[in-house]
Symmetry: C2
Subunit: 305 residues, 2 copies
C-alpha cells in the first residue's frame, strides 16, 4: 500500500520520559501527521512498562494520522529515552525485540538538543523534575550533572521543592528566620504543623517535590529572604552548568524543562543573553535523529558501491 | 512462684528503634538480670513487626535472666519507641493488646533522656542515623528537629553521608574543588565513576547514607576542605540545637547516638564544655520510666486512702 519513496516514507519520533511517552509520525517532507501520548517511558523504572508505552504512543500516533493500515514493521523509529545513559538500561533496550523496521536509540538529552537546535551543534540545560547540562558538538557528546534525586539534580524542580521543605521545617523550629513559605507549604499540603508535614512527605519521590517548586518562586517574588537564598543557590549551579557548556562554543544553547520559563529571569545577565529559544520539542529531535542515522547508512552503502 | 514484693518484682525496659529493639529485665534493686535483642521496633515502618520485636526482645531478656518461668503478664514494661511522636503511631500502639501486666509507652527520646541523666530534668541531642534535640524539665517536654530524611535530620549520619555523596558528584563534575572524598566514596561503594555511584545509590534510605558518614570525618581529618565545609554546616546546626536546649536550663545535657563520639570534638568549645557523659542507655531509661509511672499510681492510690 505504501511504497518506500522519499515522499511516502514515514518516520516515528519518540520521547520517553519518567512520566510520559510522546510520539509523532512525520512524512518525508517533515510534516507532522499525527501524535500519540502514553505512560512512563524510562526503562530504569520498568522495562516492560517503558516498551509498552513506546508501542502505545507509536500506535496512537499512527491512528491520529489516519495511518492505521501502516504496520510499525515498515517504519523507522528514533527513540530518545531517559535512563539509557545508564549502561544496564541501554543494553536492555538494545536487546529489545522491537516492532519497528529499525530502531535508533538515543538518550533523552540527545534528542532534546537536536530538537532545540535542529542541527548537530548545540547545548541544552534541562531543568524540570531533574536537572542536567548536555552538549553535542562535532559529534562529541558531553553530559554534566543529572545525578538524580536527592543526591544530584541541583536547581531542578525537585531540588527547589526539597529545599523549600527543609527551610520551612527549620523556620518552624525557629532555626532560620520566619518565611512566608511556611504558610504556603502548610496550605499546599493541607497540614497544620511540622509533624503533619513530615507525615505527609515521608518516602515521597522527586515528582512530588517538583510540585512544590513554585512555592519558592512565589515567595521570592514577594521578597521572602529564605526563598531568595534558595533560588540564588540553585541559580548559581545552573549558571555554572551554562558557563561550562558555553566554554565548549556550541552554535546555540537553550534552557529547557518545566521550570525553565520561571528560572530564566533569575540567571545571570551574561548567561541569559546567550540563551536561544528552543526550535522544536524532543520528539521532533527524535525524527531528526532517525533521519541522520538513515543518511549515514546510505553513505556507508554508497561507499561500498 | 514469684511474689510481688519489692525485691521479687521485675521490670522490663525496652528501647525500640528503626533497626533494632533492645530489652533489659531488672529486679527491684535495679540490677540488670538479662538482656534481649531483636529486629526493628519503629511502628511507623510496620506495626506488626514492631510489636513482634518488642515481644521477642522481652522473651529473650527473660530467657537470658533464667526467668523463663515468669509470664510477661506479670511484669510491668516501660517501652520507648521511635515513631510514637506521630499521633497515628501513638494511637495504634496504645490500642495494642500487649502481653504485659501494664505497658507504659514513651517516645524513644524520653527514655534516652531519662537513661542519660537518671532524673527527670535534662536534655539530649541525638545524632545517629537521624538527629534531633529533646529536653524534659519540670515535666515539660520539648522536641526540636528530627523531621526525617532527606528533608530534616541535619547533622545526622544520614545527612553527612548524603552531603558527602552530593559533593563528590559535584567534584567529579568539576563544579566544586577536588576532594579526597571522591576516591574514598568510589572505593567504599566499589564504583568507578559518577554513573556507577548513581546506579548504586538509587532509592537508598537513611541507613545506607549513614554508613557513608565516616568518609566526611576521615577526609576532614586529612585536611580536605570540601569535607570540612560539610562538617562545619552540620556542626552549626547541632550547636544551634544545643544552645536552644541550654537556654531552657536543664540540669544536664548529653550528646548521644552513633556519630556523637566523632562529632563531639567539632562542636563549639562553649557547647562541648557543657556536655555531660550519658549515665546509662535508653533501655535503662525505660525501666526508670516504668518505675516513675508505678510510683505515681501508688501516690494516686495513697491520696484516696
Amino acid at each position: 500500500m505504501f511504497k518506500s519513496s522519499q515522499n511516502k516514507e514515514f518516520f516515528l519520533g519518540i520521547d520517553g520520559g519518567g512520566s510520559k511517552c510522546k510520539a509523532i509520525i512525520t512524512n518525508g517532507n517533515n510534516e507532522i501527521l499525527g501524535t500519540g501520548l502514553s505512560g512512563p517511558g524510562n526503562p530504569l523504572h520498568g522495562f516492560e512498562q517503558a516498551t509498552n508505552s513506546i508501542i502505545e504512543s507509536a500506535t496512537l500516533a499512527l491512528k491520529d494520522a489516519d495511518l492505521e493500515g501502516v504496520n510499525l514493521h515498515n517504519i523507522n523509529a528514533g527513540i530518545g529515552l531517559a535512563g539509557v545513559n545508564l549502561p544496564a538500561q541501554l543494553k536492555q533496550m538494545q536487546l529489545w525485540k522491537h516492532p519497528f523496521k529499525q530502531m535508533f536509540l538515543a538518550h533523552d538529552l540527545m534528542i532534546a538538543c537536536l530538537g532545540a537546535h535542529q542541527v548537530n551543534n548545540g547545548a541544552v540545560i534541562i531543568t524540570g523534575t531533574g536537572s542536567c547540562g548536555f552538549s553535542c558538538i562535532d559529534e562529541q557528546e558531553f553530559l554534566i550533572g543529572g545525578h538524580g534525586f536527592p543526591q544530584g539534580d541541583k536547581g531542578s524542580g525537585a531540588w527547589f521543592g526539597l529545599q523549600a521543605t527543609k527551610q520551612v521545617l527549620l523556620s518552624i523550629d525557629g532555626i532560620v528566620e520566619p518565611s512566608i513559605m511556611n504558610e504556603m507549604l502548610l496550605t499546599k499540603l493541607s497540614c497544620s504543623d511540622a509533624t503533619s508535614i513530615v507525615e505527609m512527605i515521608v518516602s515521597k519521590k522527586a515528582t512530588f517535590y517538583a510540585q512544590l517548586a513554585n512555592i519558592v518562586f512565589d515567595a521570592a517574588n514577594l521578597g521572602d529572604k529564605v526563598a531568595i537564598a534558595i533560588i540564588e543557590e540553585g541559580v548559581e549551579y545552573i549558571d555554572t552548568l551554562a558557563r561550562i557548556l558555553l566554554a565548549k562554543k556550541p552554535a546555540r544553547i537553550s534552557l529547557l524543562g518545566g521550570i525553565a520559563p520561571i528560572l530564566k529571569a533569575w540567571l545571570s545577565q551574561e548567561v541569559q543573553m546567550q540563551l536561544s529559544e528552543s526550535l522544536s520539542p524532543p520528539e521532533v529531535g527524535a525524527v531528526i535523529f532517525v533521519q541522520q542515522k538513515l543518511a549515514l547508512q546510505q553513505d556507508e552503502i554508497g561507499q561500498f558501491n
